[in-house]
């Protein structure tokens, strides 16, 4: 154990909040424990700092493909047994991959945590990765891409917007991967990825629940402590060149209703102690879309009737560059151009006139309350801790969030709007709905259909 740090997580209005404890094994595995004794359960999340942004061109989707293969077995725990063992213990398990990381989790009764550690430590170093399993699972992933992206027009708009908004940074590539890359992926690609990134010194273990931190520490050392560290490859710093003009992309797809997605390049949190712009951008998103009476819903949807739905979003925590997004669905008789004009007018209004004190106070009240509400979910608490740490931020930044947002002034909100929500940093993507009947798939016989009506 290299260090044992105790970080207070005492928050406004919260009684007896448990301290977050963190330590690191000699092999580099970071472990974060938050005791939460409300219910006799525990959540364990293992965060690998390997997401789609670590992939290379031609093998996009590899991080996510490996996530699937991680359930395909080791010598000690053959194919299918991981899920079976967790299920038999009354647990739930799953995993997810993003641009920034790949996360494996288990939710269990509190006394079954050891099983999760045993299984995760095993597949951290002993994955079988057979060619047969790869071929079958690759088909599943292609189906997943068809389901999540190819047949979802709005997902295709997002995919195209990202690929246009980013010229150099790997955020331009979809997490699920391009279909062509999935089709040409091999088991050796997967083996290479596993060798490269699956190591204790590239991972963070987050445990939240009805546990004792000292016991978790001993368990983690016992099961993960034996996994050898690896020399991690260099991560090249990839800085997106400054955008110097508005970009537009249009997607044609079968649909009934158009859609508009706009994204501005903005910063994310790097220095949790000194950065303030990300907090101001978060407040700005709240002023536009933080509640039912926020500007986009009140003005663009309900007063002007330009859209049936309009939103704003911004995530201040990311390994790569940030994006402030606006989106919406035009009302009948309105075009995506009308909606673009209306949304940009809302942006201009804040650039020119700022935000009023009531709006600011409202957004802050919501952040304070949300900080209490999030305590109702052990899973979400673990998510926050894992995300911050994997993206390179200190654990204390999670607890400091409320205070940092409270400190943001109306002038700072206006200042980030003026600085970042500018046309030169803007990408606009639109969905151009195509008729649903223009290209019929071939007629296929379906067994058993003839004797039915």
């Amino acid at each position: 154990m290299k260090r044992w740090i105790v970080t207070g997580l005492m928050c406004w209005a919260l009684p007896a909040a448990a301290a977050v404890q963190q330590f690191q094994l000699d092999n580099g595995l970071k472990v974060i424990v938050q005791e939460d004794h409300r219910a006799p359960i525990v959540v364990s999340q293992l965060w690998y700092r390997a997401g789609s942004m670590d992939e290379f061109n031609g093998t996009t989707g590899l991080a996510h493909m490996l996530e699937h293969l991680m359930f395909k077995g080791t010598k000690a725990v053959p194919d299918g047994q991981f899920s079976k063992l967790i299920a038999a213990a009354g647990g739930r398990e799953n995993a997810f991959t993003t641009t920034d990381y790949t996360v494996y989790f288990e939710q269990l009764q509190k006394d079954r945590l050891e099983l999760a550690f045993k299984l995760e430590a095993d597949r951290m170093q002993n994955l079988t990765l057979s060619a047969d399993d790869f071929v079958k699972e690759n088909q599943v992933v292609r189906e997943e891409r068809r389901m999540r992206t190819d047949d979802q027009p709005q997902a295709r708009v997002y995919e195209d917007m990202m690929s246009v908004a980013f010229q150099e940074h790997p955020y331009r590539r979809p997490v699920i991967g391009w279909m062509n890359d999935l089709e040409h992926m091999t088991v050796d690609d997967a083996r290479g990825w596993y060798q490269r990134w699956y190591a204790p010194n590239n991972a963070t273990l987050v445990v939240v629940g009805d546990v004792n931190a000292d016991v978790v520490k001993d368990l983690a050392a016992r099961y993960f402590g034996v996994v050898p560290a690896k020399t991690l490859p260099d991560r090249k710093i990839q800085i997106e060149p400054v955008q110097t003009g508005i970009k537009r992309v249009n997607v044609k797809a079968p649909a009934k209703v158009p859609y508009l997605l706009m994204g501005y390049h903005v910063p994310v949190l790097h220095d949790a102690e000194h950065d303030w712009e990300p907090y101001a951008l978060e407040v700005l998103a709240g002023v536009l879309d933080g509640n039912e009476a926020a500007r986009l819903g009140r003005i663009v949807v309900r007063e002007q009737g330009v859209a049936t739905q309009a939103g704003a979003s911004y995530d201040l925590v990311a390994r790569g560059p940030g994006m402030f997004m606006l989106d919406g669905t035009p009302a009948q008789g309105k075009t995506v151009a009308d909606l673009e004009t209306a949304l940009r007018a809302q942006v201009q209004s804040i650039i020119q006139n700022g935000v009023n004190p009531d709006e600011l106070k409202r957004v802050k009240a919501q952040v304070i309350a949300a900080n209490v509400y999030q305590r109702d979910s052990t899973f979400y608490q673990a998510m926050l801790l894992g995300e911050y740490v994997t993206d390179g931020l200190p654990v204390s930044a999670v607890a400091d969030h409320v205070a940092r947002v409270q400190a943001i002034s109306a002038a700072q909100v206006q200042a980030v709007a003026q600085k970042y929500l500018i046309d030169d940093a803007l990408t606009i993507a639109t969905l151009d709905p195509q008729p649903l009947t223009d290209k019929q798939p071939p007629q296929l016989p379906v067994a058993g259909s003839r004797h039915l009506n």
Binding site: A87, K256, A293, V372, Q440, P441, R450, N453
Partner: protein, 437 residues
């Protein structure tokens, strides 16, 4: 379970077994109150549900119940939609709705500190008791509902769900989409909504659930405040929903759609809440298609053949028999193969039942995972509301593991034989234009 309070912990020690300490009482106005006290977090979750779902839509007015529900917070008690929304946000409260064929409900999450709690509950009271249904706002929201309905007509998954629902429930009130149809919604008027509200939102039908940082006395006061000015029970419409008839023949619906995958839904009417066979069907369905990677459908369709990312089955018990449904998506040229695999898997399951190993695995997961189902205030509130709305016993949650433990392989086989009839199955395919239609 330390999520429950010390005081109630003392009560529990006097009982034969430790359980969720649900307090239940009825108000003089007829409202049913369900309450679990917990001071672990300074917050309160409240829900109020009414038998006012889409099954109560009058003929030719499909969508009336949903629009009435949607309009509750769009102006009430002299406040505009924006005043209600900003008032809630000012105290960090979150108001949301839930709506299905049986139920129309409103949920509120608020800090329990007196100032925030009083402000939030005062707004919720107005929303429940004095909705305005102002004509211009009704017209505005109609347009948004119609836009969403139109959008869904371009989405293959929505098209499949709609075709499935209409084929499974035929002429029953469960057959139409919860938000209605464009031609019906476009004709709805403010007086229609007023009328539906007056006849379906009485205190006598209300179920109030409260979970969190208040006392029993406060819970009683809050329940009374929320329901005190609801429409009189004298005007209340019948809450009866007719039984769902069995299908008389199989149905095959195919809808061509230019997509990469076919959406496949297979099923028929299942069972109602409280059905005697429910636990056997629930445990059996875990093995058939409810238990993720423990299930046969997942094993046959995805693990062995890579035909789909997602494949599942479920029973959705409602006041009357809700649907039994199997669902998956697959590349269009694999549609036939996937259908064959699913039908064969179901046929084997019905013919041969489950193995003892499968049954043990299912029980271990369902019983061992029970604490995960009630590990948050939000989940407990959901259970309180369901127990109240469907008149389930207060010991429903406590008894759940025992009921599951008692299920036998024979019971599963017999229960599926009683309820699932492969010769009268609805099959919907959206995507590949299949033969036979």
């Amino acid at each position: 379970m330390r999520i429950w309070t010390v005081i109630l912990g003392l009560c529990v020690s006097a009982l034969a077994h430790a359980g969720l300490p649900i307090q239940h009482w009825q108000l003089a106005n007829g409202a049913q109150v369900y309450f679990v006290e917990s001071h672990a977090l300074p917050m309160l979750d409240v829900s109020v549900d009414f038998p006012a779902g889409s099954a109560y839509d009058p003929a030719a007015k499909a969508g009336l119940a949903a629009l009435t529900h949607r309009m509750l917070d769009q102006g009430a008690g002299g406040l505009s939609d924006n005043q209600i929304a900003s008032g809630l946000a000012d105290v960090g409260a979150q108001l949301s709705g839930r709506f299905d064929a049986d139920r129309a409900g409103v949920t509120l999450r608020t800090l329990s500190h007196a100032e925030e709690r009083h402000a939030a509950l005062s707004l919720l009271t107005k929303v429940l008791d004095q909705p305005a249904f102002a004509a211009p706002v009704v017209d505005r929201e109609k347009l948004r509902v119609i836009a969403a309905l139109r959008e869904s007509e371009g989405q293959p998954a929505s098209l499949a769900a709609r075709a499935f629902q209409s084929a499974v429930f035929a002429n029953h009130p469960y057959a139409h989409r919860e938000t209605g149809e464009i031609e019906n919604v476009s004709k709805l008027t403010a007086p229609d909504l007023q009328d539906f509200y007056r006849t379906h939102y009485s205190a006598a039908g209300a179920v109030v659930a409260l979970m969190g940082d208040i006392t029993r006395q406060q819970a009683d006061t809050i329940a009374l405040q929320l329901t005190g000015a609801l429409p009189s029970a004298a005007m209340a419409a019948s809450t009866a929903i007719p039984p769902v008839p069995d299908l008389s023949a199989g149905v095959m619906r195919t809808i061509p759609f230019p997509a990469k995958q076919s959406q496949i839904l297979i099923g028929q009417p299942g069972v109602a809440r409280g059905a005697p066979d429910y636990y056997a069907l629930y445990v059996g369905n875990y093995i058939l298609g409810g238990g993720g990677f423990d299930s046969r459908l997942m094993n046959e369709v995805r693990q062995k053949r890579g035909l789909a990312y997602s494949v599942y089955s479920y029973f959705m018990p409602m006041q009357q028999a809700g649907a039994f449904q199997i669902g998956l998506q697959t590349r269009t040229d694999q549609t036939e193969q996937a259908l064959q695999v699913v039908r064969q898997t179901l046929a084997d399951f019905l013919a041969n039942g489950v193995t003892e190993d499968e049954l043990t695995q299912a029980k271990n997961n369902i019983i061992g995972g029970f604490p995960l189902r009630i590990d948050s205030n939000r989940e407990i509130l959901e259970y309180l509301a369901v127990i109240g709305f469907y008149h389930l016993p207060l010991t429903y949650l406590d008894d759940f593991p025992q009921h599951v433990a008692e299920v036998t392989a024979e019971q599963i086989k017999a229960a599926f034989a009683r309820h699932i009839h492969p010769d009268k199955m609805v099959t919907v395919v959206v995507g590949a234009a299949v033969a036979g239609k």
